[in-house]
């Protein structure tokens, strides 16, 4: 086994916990290490308790570890709350001016040192310096990071911070930390990003030009990341008066011809459902990100969940084709965003991308290069493509179900669109023949859409026990299967990113090979499990669900599966 160290930094909101984490992460990243970091915070701006938990490794990691090797406690409460998570040989670094008898608690006067270096605000830098020193990082590693961080600040700010980092390192000099390791000297393995930022980059790469949104955790970060690029690309990000406006603006922009999206969380998505149906019947391409958090209603605004799967599958009255995707990693998020805009255009349907707070707010390192497409295919027609533009019919009945899409006022062809049922030219119709013609046409797209669906990724699919899940929890699920294998249980993992149209045949074939499968989901009822039952007739053996708003740990999953397995076999 190589490097696998978890550092947890805890304190009050407003204490700059994230800054410590980000400095550490940047240092690891620069040295070519991999990492995965989760953010845990309350729905308040100051006070309370929050933490960031960073797992550092020399090989890719996609989930948090439940054991903490180094606990950075910016206050006593952190120590009390998390001490029990300390792994054997673990160390606590406590911001304190007095000493402790407990040898596992290392008292460093972090704030005082910061003040000495020029200001209490640099406590983060002191803590980061101390951590890196404890972890055995070369002294220069923090320098580069601080330089990058304070690029546009004055010289003296940088200098003070360098001083602060050094004093942190100095304070722990000579301390032997079991989990210190030899730092590699390679280049960054990939890009260090949050999920939210990756979703924004994916949208950019897909040539998204309009985003309508209304702030809502945990989706706001996506839009904040996107807005950053407004001046440098043909892109408008507009804050709407509410989510209903946001989705209808996106529909309007898409209708007029630019790729458009919106992003929200469950409650906002609820308000968008009528608009989703409008995109459905008007066959307007649309990408909607629903970043889940626990509900119902306001629920736990800053926590994570996978409770909206069934809701997004069936949202809006009546039926129409849609895609539902759920990225399982940074790389897949980038790819899925590009595919989503592409498929939305190709099939003229809404696409829903399901992420969650855990995914959006976590940081990790990409494994594949992020490549912007060399060209964007728009799947639109203009007068030149028509024999007679006067005869253009936006909703012409075709075999594929996809009708030629022209843009309004971009030629002589009139583009007429109605959210009522309509005849082929777009005018309202109540005729039975038009209704059936259009319903069948829309649903005929499904056969093309099904071909675009990628089957779930299976790891060790021939195992007798399979763990199935979807979206952001894939990393934890895969690792838990590995843990089970290490303990002698023949386990594999089946993780979905492409959920609808549901890959029924492939799923059934996969599941038929195992003796039993477990659903691992962050919701109450195992929603995907029931969807699998519905679509394949295969029923999960047990559901390993978690709905407390906190992400899964691989060990936790493995333990719960093992308990069932021991029950089953004992």
């Amino acid at each position: 086994m190589g490097i696998d160290v978890t550092v947890k930094i805890g304190g009050q909101a407003g204490q700059g916990i994230q800054t410590v984490g980000e400095l550490l992460a940047a240092a690891c990243h620069e040295s070519g290490l991999y990492l995965h970091g989760i953010n845990d915070f309350e729905s308040r701006i100051r006070g309370g308790h929050s933490f960031m938990q960073l797992r550092i490794s020399d090989s890719p990691v996609q989930a948090p570890d439940h054991r903490v090797h180094l606990l950075v406690a910016l206050n006593e409460r952190t120590l009390d709350t998390h001490r029990s998570e300390l792994a054997a040989g673990g160390l606590v670094l406590l911001d304190s001016e007095s000493e402790r008898s407990d040898t596992s608690v290392l008292c460093v006067p972090v704030t005082k040192l910061a003040r000495d270096a020029g200001g209490a605000i640099m406590a983060n830098t002191v803590a980061a310096g101390a951590c890196l020193a404890l972890l055995g990082a070369p002294a220069e590693s923090i320098k580069a990071v601080l330089k990058a961080q304070f690029l546009d600040k004055s010289e003296s700010v940088l200098e003070n911070n360098l001083k602060a980092a050094k004093s942190g390192a100095k304070a722990v000099e000579g301390i032997q930390f079991d989990r210190a390791f030899k730092w590699p000297e390679s280049r960054p393995a990939g890009k260090l990003l949050t999920g939210a930022r990756m979703l924004a980059l994916g949208a950019l790469a897909a040539d998204c030009r309009f985003a309508g949104f209304y702030p809502m955790s945990p989706a706001t970060g996506i839009m904040a990341n996107l807005a950053e690029f407004e001046d440098r690309l043909p892109l408008v990000v507009e804050q709407a008066e509410d989510e209903i406006a946001a989705v209808n603006m996106a529909i309007g922009a898409s209708f007029a011809g630019v790729r458009a999206m919106t992003a929200t969380s469950g409650g906002g998505f609820a308000l968008m459902t009528e608009g989703l149906g409008l995109a459905g019947i008007t066959e307007t391409p649309l990408v909607v990100i629903n970043s889940q958090r626990p509900g119902p209603a306001t629920g736990l605004p800053t926590r994570t969940a996978q409770g909206d799967l069934r809701f997004v599958l069936h949202a809006a009255q009546d039926e129409f084709p849609r895609f539902v995707f759920a990225p399982d990693s940074l790389d897949s998020a980038f790819e899925i965003m590009i595919r989503s805009f592409d498929l939305a255009d190709r099939y003229q349907v809404p696409v829903i991308v399901l992420t969650d707070q855990y995914f959006n707010d976590s940081i990790a390192i990409t494994q594949k290069p992020l490549e912007a497409p060399s060209a964007i295919e728009r799947f639109v027609v203009d007068d030149a493509d028509m024999d007679d533009s006067g005869e253009y019919r936006r909703f012409a009945v075709t075999e594929s179900g996809v009708s030629p899409r022209a843009l309004p006022c971009e030629g002589r062809a009139l583009v007429m669109v109605s959210g009522n049922e309509h005849q082929e030219d777009g005018h309202i119709s109540e005729k039975v023949s038009d209704r059936i013609g259009q319903m069948n046409k829309r649903h005929r797209k499904l056969s093309g859409m099904e071909k675009q669906i990628r089957p779930p990724r299976a790891d060790n699919p021939d195992s007798s026990v399979l763990l199935a899940g979807w979206g952001s929890t894939a990393g934890a699920i895969r690792e838990s299967a590995e843990l089970l294998r290490a303990e002698g249980i023949d386990a594999g993992a089946v993780c979905f990113t492409d959920i609808w149209p549901f890959p029924a045949k492939e799923t059934a074939a996969l599941l038929d090979k195992c003796s039993r499968f477990y659903m691992v989901e962050q919701n109450f009822s195992a929603q995907l499990g029931w969807l699998i039952a519905e679509r394949t007739g295969r029923k999960f053996h047990q559901a390993i669900v978690k709905y407390d708003g906190r992400p899964f740990f691989p060990d936790e999953i493995a333990r719960r599966v093992k308990a069932f397995e021991e029950g089953a076999n004992g």
């Binding site: 690309l233 507009e238 458009a260």
Partner: protein, 284 residues
């Protein structure tokens, strides 16, 4: 040259005979023809209701969306392509009821579209419930004692939130209405034209006769549309006299000019630049 008849369309009109909407339809056609805007250069966005069916009844590009949501759709479309000439047709329920929040926001954004509200003081398509502009005491099957809410004052609301073009028309004065619509389309920014429209099937109170006794041309009567205070006074005038005309106009910066786009090109028209995008991603 564009002619009114160029907007003629074969699709069967579904309004009741005698409905005030015909007057609006005609005024729109005339205004567009006068402004030399051919059907293929016109985009109408509408909500849901009798008013919102308007674009089906004249030749044009259209997006007939959801009840109450025409303004956000129009905002998105105009943002994507600032070259679009957008008219928005909505009912009073559509715009001031279900769509009330978007109405406020369209004013505040100053989105450069012309909004025609077919204000018949009733929900027509759903067969006669009180609308936001129905007066207290206006009895319907669902409001056996009339609505409990005071009627909305759309023009006052628009003025209160900084609208730069506020007009009131009446279907009984076709030419006057045509003039207002033309001015609305020519205005650079958000133009509200609240149009007193007569629903002959469900509104037995606010009839042609009723209006005929009350409506007058405020501008002709001396109202200065450049005077904000005068405009504010006008919209609170005694209800027994209903001023029509251009209530208020001022120069404003339209939404299209607030986007911070580098040039005059519509968003839609910019080329996708893979190298630039790749650079941005690489340095992100």
């Amino acid at each position: 040259m564009v002619d009114k008849d160029d907007f003629q369309c074969d699709f069967e009109n579904k309004w009741c005979p005698g409905c005030g909407n015909f007057g609006i339809l005609n005024a729109m056609k005339q205004a567009l023809a006068d402004l030399e805007m051919p059907p293929e250069k016109v985009l109408i966005v509408s909500g849901i209701g009798q008013a919102a069916k308007t674009p089906h009844f004249l030749k044009c590009n259209f997006f007939h969306g959801l009840h109450g949501r025409a303004l956000p759709v129009a905002t998105g479309a105009k943002t994507a392509n600032r070259d679009l000439n957008i008219l928005v047709n909505m009912g009073d329920g559509d715009c001031y009821g279900e769509g009330g929040n978007h109405f406020i926001s369209a004013i505040r954004r100053n989105i450069d579209v012309t909004l025609l509200v077919h204000d018949n003081r009733i929900y027509g398509l759903t067969k006669g419930q009180a609308s936001p502009t129905s007066e207290r005491g206006f009895v319907t099957r669902l409001q056996p004692h009339g609505p409990r809410s005071d009627p909305m004052n759309p023009a006052a609301l628009a003025l209160s939130q900084g609208a730069g073009f506020v007009a009131r028309g009446y279907v009984g004065n076709r030419e006057h209405l045509t003039g207002l619509i033309k001015q609305g389309i020519e205005y650079s920014g958000f133009a509200l034209i609240d149009i007193m429209q007569v629903c002959v099937s469900f509104n037995r109170v606010n009839t042609y006769e009723w209006y005929a006794e009350r409506v007058y041309d405020a501008n002709r009567a001396g109202h200065d549309e450049n005077d904000f205070r005068a405009a504010m006074n006008l919209v609170f005038e005694d209800k027994e006299k209903i001023p029509t005309g251009l209530i208020y106009r001022k120069q404003t910066v339209p939404f299209s000019d607030r986007l911070g786009r580098p040039g005059p090109d519509a968003l839609l028209r910019e080329k996708y630049n893979p190298d630039k995008v790749q650079n941005l991603i690489d340095s992100a």
